[in-house]
């Protein structure tokens, strides 16, 4: 279980203060696929980066599995992070490593035996359907394939949690569906709890059981996905929904072509 309690974040750049998060409280239960939606600049990435402490809150506490991790440092922090996989919008694969070596990276970090790492990486690559490409380099893969490698890499340490920051927004709609299906399977079959950032309501509707809507660093709405979609409580959500409906199904394709 991931709990954020009254989390606030203020960025201080010289004499300019910017409040990116304001009194954010959320509970993400084990087994959830928890969606975080909001417009660009709303604070989605900032929020999620607090969960594995890539950012430190200026106020509030972060509690994971009933342990207050807010002030974790050094080894404790690194151990915590091994339990939280993360995937990124731009995939962030290591360009000079093969597919297989990308997947073994988190295992190398832990110092496991090499043979074991390779065996485990092959298993994960089978899971994401890319094992026959293990020798290739990221530059030799399509975007969808790269993201599947990133998912395999994020799963290497057998994490309980996985954070996905706009995992599909660099992909076309068909590839998006493949990647979303994979994330769903990982959630169902491996029991990995997911936090999924997206600005696409389609994506949220397809895979999330709960969603939170964020605007200007404030959570304006939170609940079961079907409830939020059927009966939005805040203006921001209604606006997002209205805009989502007005857009044709293939916005992602159009964005790619533009």
């Amino acid at each position: 279980m991931i709990e954020l309690k009254h989390v606030g974040k203020v960025y201080q750049a010289r004499d300019e203060r910017h409040r990116a998060l304001d009194d954010v409280s959320l509970t993400i239960e084990d087994g959830d696929i928890f969606g975080i939606i909001g417009a660009s600049g709303a604070g989605k990435s900032t929020l999620v980066r607090h969960i594995n402490l890539l950012e430190r809150p200026t106020e509030g506490r972060i509690i994971i599995d009933d342990k207050d991790v807010t002030d974790y440092q050094g080894k404790e922090l690194r151990e915590l992070r091994k339990n939280i996989g993360m995937i990124f919008q731009n995939f962030s694969l290591f360009q000079q490593r093969t597919v297989l070596q990308n997947v073994t990276f988190p295992l190398e970090i832990r110092g496991h035996a090499k043979a074991e790492n390779i065996e485990r990486a092959h298993k994960l690559l089978q899971l994401v359907g890319l094992d026959e490409m293990w020798k290739r380099y990221p530059s030799e893969l399509s975007g969808g394939q790269q993201q599947r490698v990133a998912i395999a890499r994020a799963l290497a340490n057998n994490p309980r949690y996985m954070l996905c920051d706009e995992a599909t927004s660099a992909l076309d709609s068909r590839t998006t569906i493949q990647v979303l299906d994979l994330l769903k399977r990982v959630n169902r079959e491996l029991g990995v709890t997911m936090v999924v950032i997206t600005h696409s309501l389609d994506v949220a509707q397809q895979i999330c059981n709960r969603i939170a809507v964020i605007d200007g660093g404030v959570i304006v709405e939170e609940g079961l996905t079907q409830d939020v979609f059927a009966n939005p409580q805040s203006d921001v959500t209604r606006e997002l929904l209205a805009r989502g409906k007005a857009e044709p199904q293939s916005t992602l394709d159009m964005e790619k072509e533009a």
């Binding site: 690194r78 939280i84 990124f88 290591f94 000079q96």
Partner: protein
Amino acid sequence: MGEFLETYGSLLASGTVDTLVMTCAASFFAYVIGLPLGIWFAVTTPTGLRPNRAINTILGWIINIGRSIPFIILLVAIIPFTRLIVGTSLGVPGAVVPLTVAAAPFVARVVEQSLAEVDSSLIEAAHSFGANNFQIITKVMLRESLPSLVRGVAITFVSLFGYTAMAGTVGAGGLGDIAIRYGYQRYMPDVMLVCIIICVVMVQVFQSAIDWLARHIDKRKH
């Protein structure tokens, strides 16, 4: 031609060997000093792994001062230091010391620039998997910038190759020394020409080999 080779062949051969030894030895020692210095510099920048303004500023000064002293001046200015380290300021050993001192800050800068090219999102990804700083330096920064680091070796090598000619003028030997003493002072244009040809060929061969290597190990899209 045969006569020329008979008279100057062994002189030119030993000059070539001296030049190569000076260049290689100085490159090696310059990396021994410059590589860690460059890593340290990259790591302490404000956006680095372990930002430290004081250390970064001091390293920046050292690197810039080192690079701003003209080699010919450095060469004579540190003669006492050179004598202290290798016991002489003459010959190949006497040249390797100032060459190393001149090249180390240069290497540090080249290394720092290679490391700065590494996409910060990769470093962040490594953090998210629980990597420690040492692992990030070795497994991400150095590994991802390897092609660029290799290209840096070529730049260093070729610069040092040029510097050896200047060292030659103060008694280091090598091709530069031969070109000056025979080609210039005794006015022997054939010796001069041969020295130049050997230099050009050596630089070309080395540069091409390194370019090939860098391209070969670079797995990004070309």
